[in-house]
């Protein structure tokens, strides 16, 4: 890679990798684990350098993508992979809010993120930008689906070779949504944790950039943009409460980091934000640890329709527990039936079709409201991280059927009357 041809118009602000346990420092290479304690490595920044580069005005004048926050992201050049990822809508909720009894509910809608309709496009854009800087020509990932879609798409855009690893029982929509970009797709007969383990071993022997393994410290920083955007979209202020899904715990803890960084460089006023997290009961190691007041995670075997958050051994689980507890948030779980209801509720009240992870988040939001854990006056932001078209199998059979008629007016009138009767029956079943 010829550094001489890349124009450096800004000064990179990231300085080193640091072990999260013990603070051992490492250079800014494709490293992800501390050799002393095996804990994850985290990118460290020179916040004074960031402060000097950013103002609200400069950010607002920046690209309409995550890269308006480039000063906060771990990239060394201006040669970023930008397909318009990020700056997704932050919607003020009316009907869902009223249904739940909340006055200030906002929905951050990454179901429409570009290019592959999940928040993963954020982290992959950062990871592949960095991969290219580090000289990788083949990129890879271990994925429950959304990451595979995103890695394959952005690799195609960037002209990088790509090989993705997925569990063999992944939803058809997600497999198709990866194959279309023509990577090599390896479907492993096992659960996601087994795929991850295999990929660690593959990474040892092939010099590939695994976005969520050896590039993980850079990759994970992309999730901070979910925090930055909400702060900017709320008018340069922080919400009171956020509810986000928990898989590995990375997204959740990086949104927290994002808010803290904006405070640190003076872009928003310091204020307390409660962080609540959502898991599926069938894979809820973090929620269980939270409920049992433990500070360690016991891995579980996932068994839930929410496959995109089915991580039985979450690497950032303990950090997520720490964030929830110190901010006064709650980590809750819901069962598969509640997840389906969550997907339907969001679609029927707000016109947003989210996948099972989003259904989980909405169901937990509802659960928290019903148990009195959310003040109706609080400004609450709920994070919707992926599109429902990707998990169609999960919702099939729960959303009714069309009414099939002859092309005759009286056939239609009969069907309409029938549909109104069915609606009345449904109403009668709803407890008020």
């Amino acid at each position: 890679m010829t550094q001489a041809t890349v124009t450096q118009k800004f000064t990179p602000t990231f300085t080193k990798l640091v072990s999260k346990e013990g603070g051992v420092e490492y250079p800014l290479e494709a490293l992800y684990v501390c050799e002393e304690t095996f804990s994850p490595l985290e990118v460290a920044y020179d916040y004074e350098a960031i402060r000097q580069q950013v103002t609200r005005e400069k950010i607002q004048a920046g690209p309409n993508s995550i890269w308006r926050y480039k000063a906060f992201l771990p990239v060394a050049t201006d040669n970023v992979i930008d397909v318009g990822t990020g700056m997704t809508p932050l919607i003020k909720s009316n009907r869902l809010a009223r249904r739940l009894g909340l006055k200030n509910l906002y929905i951050k809608n990454d179901a429409v993120n570009m290019p592959t309709l999940s928040f993963k496009d954020r982290v992959v854009s950062v990871a592949l930008t960095r991969a290219r800087e580090l000289g990788f020509t083949t990129v890879s990932c271990s994925s429950t689906g959304n990451l595979a879609n995103s890695t394959a798409a952005l690799a195609a855009h960037a002209g990088l070779d790509c090989c993705v690893f997925i569990p063999a029982d992944l939803e058809a929509g997600k497999v198709l949504g990866t194959l279309i970009y023509n990577p090599t797709v390896i479907a492993v007969k096992g659960n996601y944790d087994q795929v991850n383990r295999l990929c660690s071993e593959v990474g040892n022997t092939h010099n590939w950039g695994f976005v969520n393994i050896n590039l993980r410290p850079y990759y994970s920083e992309g999730s901070k943009t979910l925090g930055f955007e909400v702060a900017e979209q709320l008018g340069w202020r922080l919400p009171d409460h956020v509810v986000a899904p928990l898989a590995s715990g990375s997204l959740y803890t990086k949104i927290y980091k994002g808010f803290q960084e904006f405070i640190k460089v003076g872009l928003v006023e310091d204020k307390a934000v409660r962080f609540s997290g959502a898991q599926a009961e069938g894979c809820s190691p973090i929620a269980q640890a939270f409920k049992e007041q433990r500070d360690f995670i016991t891995p579980v075997k996932p068994n839930t329709i929410a496959k995109s958050i089915a991580i039985g051994n979450p690497a950032d689980g303990v950090y997520a527990l720490d964030v929830a507890r110190k901010t006064g948030g709650h980590i809750e779980s819901v069962n598969d039936a509640e997840i389906i209801e969550g997907m339907k509720l969001l679609a029927e009240t707000e016109g947003i079709f989210t996948e099972t992870a989003g259904g989980t988040t909405i169901a937990v939001l509802k659960k928290l409201v019903e148990s009195g854990k959310i003040d109706p006056e609080e400004t609450t932001v709920v994070y919707i991280t992926g599109n429902g078209l990707k998990t169609q199998e999960a919702i099939q059979g729960y959303i009714g059927e069309p009414l099939v008629i002859e092309p005759k007016l009286d056939s239609f009138e009969l069907a309409l009357e029938r549909s109104r009767t069915l609606e009345r029956l449904e109403w009668q079943q709803v407890l008020v």
Binding site: E21, Y32, V33, E35, E36, T37, F38, S39, P40, K120, C141, S142, S143, T144, N146, L147, A148, G190, Y192, D193, Q194, N196, R197, S200, E201, N204, T205, V211, N212, I213, R216, S220, A247, S248, S250, F296, T298, P299, V300, K301, I311, G312, N313, P314, A315, D316, V318
Partner: protein, 91 residues
């Protein structure tokens, strides 16, 4: 029991850069002792000062996390594959 151990890159400097290591051990706990005998210094990376496996290291016996088995007491059979993997996830 003769088992194969898969060694992550971070520990390969103790095993002469070998990614696969064969040895005899009765249990996972026993295996760590055997590894320390043959590859001095490796135990202090795997275990903390109290001798417990560090929280960010995963041990798998034939793809099963030992925390879902009997942890360090997990018995090993001949031909078992033991994988040592740092905790990384997300995707």
């Amino acid at each position: 029991m003769s088992v194969v151990v898969l060694i992550p890159p971070a520990l390969q400097k103790f095993t002469n850069n070998q990614a696969k290591f064969e040895c005899d051990a009765e249990s996972v706990g026993d295996l760590i002792g055997v590894l320390e005998d043959k590859c001095p210094g490796i135990k202090s990376r795997i275990c903390n000062e109290s001798g417990q496996i560090r929280q960010f290291i995963n041990f798998y016996v034939n793809s099963e996390d030992i925390r879902l088995l009997s942890r360090e007491q997990t018995k090993l059979q001949s031909g078992d594959e033991v994988s040592i993997v740092p905790a990384v996830a997300g995707g």
